[in-house]
């Protein structure tokens, strides 16, 4: 017989959940050796030559949470997310101003090594882009380049399990990554990102090219990933943002030709039930964009 929880029992459950949260924060790094970090962004602006694409974004990205970035096309979401691991500057003429702190480290400090930053802040792209190598080699490639000295078999199994792909590929690790379905390829790319043990994972529309079942698997994966990593995702799928994220940022361009701005940033629950600004409400309810 189904019984209702009493108020007292509910409170006990909440305490247990809080304790779990604390545990994740204090010991949830991928290999269990250090806390997961959040990011603190202040007055970040991004340029393509003289064109300012994003202006004055300040945002605290919480550790062990999923932060979703939403907004109309061309409002600077992807540009912004690429600034968070110094990928933006690889485009000729592109640059960023402002401060991006990963824990205590300013990733734009002169002493910061962009390659090391990109290892610590990994990225998964819209289109799955596995290497023309075996599934196994795809996973260990980045780790080997970064001088990984541990057990590679263990790393492959752990990374594929975290990406919820292990059960589907464990018997064909030597086969080409290109032989996988689109959804599996994307999870392989996630596993490849996880194998270099980042602290933050950036995802730029990771499920927009996938069918609903594959999308669901990626979303379930993200829910697991946030136990150990900080996740930032750009998505055009409003319901996806509502389903998977803890915090949401709405990017918006007020007038044509202006740079994109962070228009509203709040807990996802608030953004999708009672946003502060009219433009946010119009966007999430599908009244424009």
């Amino acid at each position: 017989m189904e019984t209702q929880k009493t108020g007292r029992e509910r409170k006990v459950s909440e305490v247990s959940r809080d304790q779990r949260d604390v545990k994740h924060k204090s010991g949830g790094a991928p290999s269990g050796d250090g806390p997961t970090l959040g990011m603190k962004i202040q007055d970040l602006s991004a340029f393509y030559g003289s064109f300012k694409a994003v202006t004055d974004v300040s945002m605290d990205i919480q550790a062990n949470k999923v932060t979703a970035l939403i907004g109309p096309s061309g409002c600077g979401k992807s540009t912004y997310i690429r600034c968070l691991n110094r990928m933006h500057e690889v485009i000729p003429g592109a640059r960023a101003e402002g401060s991006v702190m990963l824990g205590e480290q300013d990733i734009y400090a002169k002493s910061a090594d962009p390659v090391n930053i990109r290892r610590r802040v990994g990225m998964v792209f819209q289109k799955p882009n596995p290497f023309s190598k075996s599934i196994y080699e795809n996973v260990v490639w980045g780790a080997k380049i970064n001088g990984y000295k541990g057990d590679l078999d263990e790393l492959v199994e752990r990374s594929l399990k975290q990406a919820a792909l292990w059960e589907e590929v464990k018997d064909r690790l030597k086969e080409s990554g290109h032989g996988l379905s689109g959804g599996q390829q994307q999870r392989l790319c996630i596993a490849r990102t996880l194998a270099v043990e980042p602290e933050v994972i950036l995802m730029d529309e990771p499920a927009s090219a996938l069918d609903p079942v594959s999308t669901q698997k990626i979303e379930d994966t993200m829910d697991q990933l946030k136990q150990s990593y900080t996740v930032v995702i750009v998505t055009h799928n409003m319901q996806q943002a509502a389903r998977i994220s803890d915090y949401s940022g709405f990017f918006y361009i007020e007038n044509m030709g202006d740079p994109g701005r962070l228009w509203e940033f709040d807990e996802t629950e608030k953004m999708f039930s009672n946003p502060e600004r009219k433009e946010t409400e119009d966007y999430v309810t599908g009244r424009f964009g």
Binding site: M238, Q239, A242, F272, S273, N274, P275, T280, E281, V284, T285, G286, R287, F288, G289
Partner: protein
């Protein structure tokens, strides 16, 4: 504007809700008239409305569920569907209570009355009707100013409730009013108090619809802002 079809469906839903509200208001009007004029025939017209209102309410709730499934509403659209379901429940419940009162009026048409108590009941019926109508007006016009005053108007109903119950418990003399009528009067007093509460709750639901907050929190902010702006 994108999502035009969805907007039309939401507008249609509100229209259906207000139609139902208008019918419940008409039933309440007849109930008050029957009490004022001791007219059992007017009360009799309202017997059977309960099942009609419940059916209408179920139709509206079904439409809300379909829209939620098909359109995945968020923010103000989500609050609107939630509010429509809540207000529908208040309307249907008020319609049911109105029928119960009309049933009591018809069944005690020939019973001897306690005139003081009857005067109290009629005043309470008018006031409860006014609070209910006001709640529906607040919803139709999204009028937060009037939502603020609803609670004060309901306080008057609560006062009349106490007076009427006192008269029922402490009749002015032996044999004043037939026992079956006094018993029904106690039920009518209770039902009227509930109808007024439903009106207040419709106003509260409207505050949530507009502000996304519980009425108590929203009203406090509203009052603070007015004090600051004064």
């Amino acid at each position: 504007m994108p999502r035009e079809t969805f907007q039309q469906e939401l507008d249609g839903l509100i229209s259906d809700l207000l139609d139902l509200g208008g019918e419940v208001e008409a039933s309440l009007e007849n109930m008050v008239k029957a009490m004022e004029e001791r007219d059992a025939d007017v009360a009799r017209r309202e017997l059977g409305v309960d099942i009609r209102y419940k059916t209408r309410g179920m139709d509206i709730e079904r439409e809300c569920m379909i829209l939620q499934a098909r359109q995945a509403p968020v923010a103000r659209d989500l609050r609107l569907l939630y509010t429509v379901q809540s207000v529908t429940n208040h309307l249907v419940r008020s319609g049911t209570l109105t029928e119960h009162i009309c049933q009591a009026i018809t069944e005690t048409a020939d019973s001897e009355r306690d005139e003081d108590l009857e005067i109290s009941l009629v005043e309470m019926a008018r006031t409860a009707r006014n609070v209910f109508n006001e709640g529906l007006d607040v919803f139709e016009n999204r009028d937060l100013e009037r939502a603020r005053d609803l609670q004060a108007k309901d306080d008057k109903v609560d006062l009349l409730y106490s007076e009427a119950m006192n008269l029922i418990a402490n009749p002015p003399g032996e044999g004043v009013g037939a026992p079956e009528w006094r018993m029904r009067a106690a039920l009518i007093v209770h039902y009227l108090e509930r109808i007024s509460d439903h009106g207040v709750d419709i106003g509260g639901s409207t505050v949530f619809l507009v502000t996304g907050q519980r009425i108590e929190d929203a009203m406090q902010q509203y009052l603070d802002r007015n004090v600051d702006g004064a």
